[in-house]
């Protein structure tokens, strides 16, 4: 979202439209903890509620990688609803039919996912060896 602030124009109408969007997004976020809690009273199952050290390590890896990816995924949800809401026809928001490139946005959308993949790939490299089921006993020392 910080990216978009530089495109904001001082037009009053649009400021209001933006505020409107922010409030709505905040409401959406407020719903999230409720949804998460709703999952607590069910049987968590053998993956989440792992017993042994290998199962626990695998589960933690799952959570870490999933958490890292939220950096890319949550903005997608927010931007998708925000843009559709704010820029639908008849809303009178600003219109730039020929705007089709921004070096900064391009850099961020290539670099951020790349960095996350570098991070997760490092985990893959380390843990594929650590948790290799065919590793012989003498390696475990």
């Amino acid at each position: 979202m910080f990216l978009l602030s530089r495109f904001r124009r001082p037009a009053r109408l649009q400021e209001e439209a933006l505020k409107d969007c922010v409030v709505r997004i905040a409401c959406l976020y407020a719903l999230v903890p409720g949804l998460l809690l709703a999952g607590c009273d069910v049987d968590p199952g053998p993956v989440i509620d792992a017993g042994g050290p290998v199962g626990l390590a695998e589960r933690d890896l799952l959570f870490t990688a999933g958490g890292l990816m939220m950096i890319v995924v949550i903005p997608v949800f927010v931007l998708a609803f925000w843009f559709v809401w704010c820029y639908r026809a008849g809303k009178g928001a600003s219109y730039m039919p020929n705007w089709s490139y921004s070096g900064r946005i391009d850099a961020v959308i290539w670099l951020v996912p790349s960095l996350i993949v570098v991070a997760v790939a490092s985990l893959v490299w380390i843990y594929s060896y650590k948790l290799d089921p065919y590793r012989s006993n003498k390696d475990h020392g």
Partner: protein, 512 residues
């Protein structure tokens, strides 16, 4: 003395053309200077340019091809193709390189079955996993063959209905090409539990997650195409927005499954089933439904009913979430896929929710059928007389709906990415002439359909050992290939009078 050449022919007006030309000219001068410096002109003439040695001719062809390739990059003529055209091109390349693996797998399997060989059985030195390897060496590029054209459709739809140029077009093109290349480096993630070493698993896991980068870039490019647009929420756009939001969930679960230790946990659970449905239903199917509703008027001359299209969307998206999100949870609870029956009580509530979702998806399918019937019935009211029902940006919308058999009577000149939008903005009327050149058209041919049908018969006969039928169907297939290959009269010509007639009808908007 100089014919038509003047100083105006030098492209001072275009930095790119001028730069390309200067690099070419100076590059040529440098080469000439080097050859002269080494006094190699005689050697070049005697041993290379006039040589009949096929090895040397081959080397010169390669050098020429490389030069033409560089020239192609300077021209960058392909960078004005619509994105759907790009994805179709990359898909075609994938098909050329991926399908041989399936052909080989099928041939070896045939030898195993029919001649008692042991490529894929563990007896006599064979290995079952060879089949899995060959199958997925085709199978993984194949899922990109499924999804890349859908990515192209989303690109066209999102630009058209946002009334805006596609954001990050070069990124989208390169991302498509990168996905095409990487799709051949990931197949082993389908069987991390095969027993390969940690080295092998880690390599394929990492390659798999690298694909998430260009795909993520595409998602953001579509989002920023909507930014500062004027979004018309028609049915093709509904499918596209539903895709963007839902597809990223499948992307996350895909990267999770690409981590080999995590895959050891989740392999063959319903988590995996949920993941690939999450990719192919919102990813590919929604795309084809968007394309169906987008191009239906172009192909048939009348639009599809919007109301039923949107109903179908809502049923599909709600049904999808209800049917497949519980499968992710069931995967965490350890439910394997492909179960005949189960007696774990805690799975039951989630499976009931999934069943409800499946029923809602069925409602979505019914809505699509109703939409089709309603639209055909009301086709007069839905008739597209303009040829451009969505305020389109690319050239297909410059033709009538449906287009003339030859598409364009006069080949349009393209100097912008959204060629039709550029024409509309310049306020130039569609090129209409009194005289048209005759157009050569290919004849219809039943050969493809008949050969396809006979290939099915051949396969069926081979599976069930019906030898006479196998021999007969194969002989007929061969015969058709030979007859077709020797048929030199497979073209017909539309005379300029016929072309003019079709064009006049088209301009009055009364084409059938």
């Amino acid at each position: 003395m100089m014919g038509r050449i003047t100083l105006d022919a030098i492209p001072f007006y275009s930095a790119i053309a001028m730069g390309g030309a200067l690099i070419t000219v100076f590059g040529g001068l440098v080469v000439i200077a080097i050859v002269t410096w080494y006094r190699a002109w005689g050697y070049l003439w005697r041993n290379w340019l006039t040589s009949l040695d096929h090895k040397r001719i081959g080397i010169m062809y390669i050098a020429l091809a490389l030069i033409m390739l560089m020239r192609g990059f300077i021209d960058a003529i392909m960078m004005r193709m619509p994105l759907f055209t790009w994805t179709a091109l990359v898909t075609a390349v994938l098909m050329v390189f991926a399908f041989p693996a399936l052909t080989v797998a099928a041939a070896l399997l045939g030898l195993d079955r029919l001649l008692g060989m042991h490529f894929f059985t563990n007896a006599a030195g064979g290995n079952m996993m060879n089949y899995a390897n060959l199958f997925w060496m085709w199978g993984h590029p194949e899922v990109y063959i499924l999804i890349l054209p859908a990515f192209g459709i989303y690109s066209e739809v999102v630009a058209t209905f946002s009334g805006k140029r596609l954001f990050g077009y070069p990124s989208l093109v390169y991302a498509t090409a990168v996905i095409g290349v990487l799709s051949f480096t990931v197949w082993l993630h389908h069987f991390f539990t095969m027993g390969a070493s940690a080295n092998v698993n880690a390599f394929f896991g990492m390659m798999t997650m690298i694909i998430a980068v260009p795909t993520g870039v595409k998602i953001y490019d579509w989002l920023f195409t909507m930014f500062r647009g004027r979004i018309r929420l028609m049915s093709p756009m509904y499918w596209t927005i539903g895709f963007i939001v839902t597809f990223v969930i499948g992307g996350v679960t895909g990267v999770l499954l690409a981590i080999p230790p995590v895959d050891y946990l989740m392999h063959n659970t319903t988590f995996l089933v949920a993941h690939f449905h999450n990719m192919l239903i919102p990813g590919a199917l929604f795309g084809y439904l968007a394309g169906y509703m987008f191009w239906f008027p172009k192909a048939t001359g009348f639009q599809l009913d919007e109301k039923w299209g949107k109903r179908a969307f809502w049923a599909w998206i709600i049904g999808f979430y209800l049917a497949f999100m519980p499968l992710y949870i069931l995967g965490f609870m350890g439910m394997p896929r492909r179960m005949e029956h189960y007696h774990v009580a805690s799975w039951q509530p989630w499976l009931l929710v999934a069943e409800l979702g499946a029923i809602i998806v069925l409602v979505g399918i019914i809505c699509l059928i109703v939409q089709f019937i309603v639209s055909v019935r009301n086709r007069e009211a839905f008739r597209d007389k303009t040829g451009d029902p969505w305020d389109g940006r690319t050239l297909e919308w410059a033709t009538t709906s449906p287009p003339a058999p030859y598409n364009f009577a006069v080949i349009p000149e393209v100097d912008d990415r959204d060629a039709f939008m550029a024409i509309k903005n310049k306020d130039v009327m569609r090129a209409r002439k009194d005289e048209y050149a005759p157009i050569v058209m290919p004849d219809n041919s039943g050969a493809g359909a008949i050969m396809g049908g006979l290939a099915f018969v051949f396969g069926f006969a081979m599976v069930w050992y019906i030898w006479w039928l196998a021999i007969a169907s194969f002989a007929v297939i061969l015969g058709i290939v030979v007859v077709r290959a020797f048929n030199d009269r497979d073209l017909h010509v539309l005379s300029s009078r016929e072309v003019a007639e079709i064009e006049t009808h088209a301009s009055k908007g009364v084409i059938k």
